[in-house]
């Protein structure tokens, strides 16, 4: 479905992404996880024709993203990190203009269907400026799925939203997958990547440092973590392959100790020494 081959983007001396190669299968939710500046948005921007790569290539359905951008644009939709709705227009007009740009047939009924599904039908004639951040995010997703795209790109879809709205949006994303959609999602929220992704690619400083299912990635570093502070106050993390192994490490700690299941943050810490969520 989507194939990246040694994809690279430089901004002068800065390498935003370097030699990215991976595949995303049909009807998969693929999560790109990494801290701010890891290259997640640049990757999405290349795949959605906003940024031209310096080297390498990206294919969608076998079509080259740089060589045939119009063909790519017929197949994709994007929920960007920044809200790019027309602020001084109504929700209905925003969707109508998007539908006209994308030549979506049966537009009026599809707009109604999408606005009802995100709970904004009653507010359809209201100016976007009167919408909360969560409502605007829901509208962005409704706009993106209006034409039933083959691939949906979500760039940090829940950034800055409260936990309740975040979970509403997760359910919307799961419904899109259930309807057959393929999704590439970027996030720096560990919980989000684990909750939604079939597979996760972890990015650090523009490079792909791990790629697998969340369960396998966690197995790779150990399913349990023993966490405590050492004498000088530094936090110590012991990755353990099993519960029994973890229990052995409990004895090492001289301060308060926690044993828990590992998460993707632990994978990132193990591989890079840094943290994803700041």
């Amino acid at each position: 479905m989507i194939e990246l081959e040694q994809l690279t983007k430089d901004y002068g001396k800065i390498k935003a992404i370097e030699g990215l190669s991976f595949r995303i299968e049909t009807n998969e939710i693929f999560g790109l996880l990494g801290p701010n500046g890891a290259g997640k948005s640049t990757t999405i921007k290349i795949l959605t024709t906003l940024v031209k790569p310096t080297a390498g290539r990206a294919l969608l359905d076998g079509i080259d993203v740089v060589g045939q951008p119009l063909e790519i644009k017929k197949r994709i939709a994007v929920v960007p990190q920044e809200n790019n709705l027309d602020r001084e227009m109504s929700a209905f007009d925003n969707l109508r203009l998007y539908g006209l740009l994308h030549h979506i047939p049966g537009l009026e009924s599809k707009i109604e269907e999408q606005l009802r599904s995100v709970g904004l039908w009653e507010r359809r004639n209201d100016n976007i400026l009167t919408f909360s951040g969560g409502m605007q995010r829901r509208l962005l997703i409704a706009r993106a799925v209006l034409g039933r795209p083959k691939v949906l790109f979500l760039d940090e879809p829940t950034i800055g939203l409260d936990p309740q709205v975040r979970r509403e949006i997760w359910n919307m994303i799961r419904r899109i997958k259930a309807q057959g959609g393929t999704i590439l999602l970027t996030t720096h929220y560990i919980e989000e990547a684990e909750a939604l992704s079939d597979r996760v690619g972890i990015l650090s400083q523009g490079k792909l440092i791990a790629l697998d299912t969340p369960a396998n990635l966690k197995k790779m570093v150990g399913e349990y973590v023993v966490e405590y502070s050492d004498r000088d106050g530094s936090r110590v993390y012991r990755m353990c392959a099993s519960r029994e192994d973890a229990q052995c490490h409990l004895q090492e700690a001289e301060t308060e100790v926690t044993m828990r299941k590992s998460n993707l943050e632990d994978v990132f810490v193990k591989l890079t020494g840094g943290r994803i969520e700041q």
């Binding site: 921007k45 024709t49 940024v51 994007v78 960007p80 203009l97």
Partner: protein
């Protein structure tokens, strides 16, 4: 018709701005102030062979106003949409050709330019200054709006910040306002400067818009204006096609 959604979007925004006092003031009152200051004040002491100064000034103000509004609306709006609101990215990611995006913005800029010219035309018609609408006048007005809306797209795509839009306006638009024959005939300028002035597109608008009938000079003015418009259209479309953040 791929340009239509872009045109429609701009028109929806235009309709909302239309009823704001600030908008009406900047687009219509400024040329009217020029008209009062130059036409009624300075104009008494300026002699124009074969007519009145007001009769000379009015078509120039129509050309100037249509240029300013066609250019500013597009250049400023496109820059804001691209750099700050990111709404331009929605157009780039839509399956439409760069020339359609260009055409949508240009047509919207033309509407704004024509609207801003309307009040000066009305003043001209009731002023008794020998001002009359002809097909050539309307054609020149349309071509001028088309030319500067195209220039607006190009500048809107080139500018990196909103402040840059004003810089471009100060370097290209403002000199044209004062030296291209809006307020006085260009033959009153030193000979060397006249050659430079003839390179400015608005000069040719001012030549053409004052012609009662189309003659050889008028045809060459049309060719120069169309040439500039075509150049800006091609360059603007290329900038949209090669867009990369």
């Amino acid at each position: 018709m791929n340009w239509y959604p872009i045109f429609l979007r701009e028109m929806i925004q235009f309709k909302k701005k239309l009823f704001r006092l600030g908008y009406i003031f900047t687009s219509m009152m400024v040329p009217l102030l020029y008209l009062l200051a130059f036409g009624l004040g300075l104009g008494r002491s300026v002699e124009i062979p074969g007519g009145t100064y007001l009769g000379f000034l009015l078509p120039g103000l129509v050309a100037m106003s249509s240029m300013n509004n066609s250019y500013n609306w597009v250049a400023s709006g496109l820059n804001l949409s691209r750099v700050y609101f990111k709404t331009f990215q929605v157009l780039i990611q839509a399956p439409i050709a760069p020339t359609s995006i260009m055409a949508g913005y240009v047509l919207a800029g033309m509407v704004r330019g024509l609207f801003a010219s309307l009040m000066i035309i009305l003043v001209g018609l009731v002023s008794g200054a020998g001002f009359h609408l002809s097909w050539l006048f309307l054609f020149t007005l349309l071509l001028n709006c088309f030319l500067f809306a195209n220039m607006g797209v190009l500048i809107g795509m080139l500018t990196k910040t909103h402040e840059d839009t004003s810089t471009y306006a100060n370097f290209f638009i403002l000199p044209m306002v004062f030296f291209s024959g809006t307020f006085f005939p260009i033959d009153r300028m030193p000979k060397l400067l006249q050659y430079l002035i003839l390179c400015l597109p608005l000069t040719h608008t001012n030549i053409l818009i004052r012609k009662p009938v189309l003659d050889r000079e008028g045809i060459s003015a049309i060719l120069v204006m169309a040439g500039y418009a075509l150049l800006f259209f091609i360059l603007g479309s290329q900038k949209i096609k090669n867009y990369s953040e």
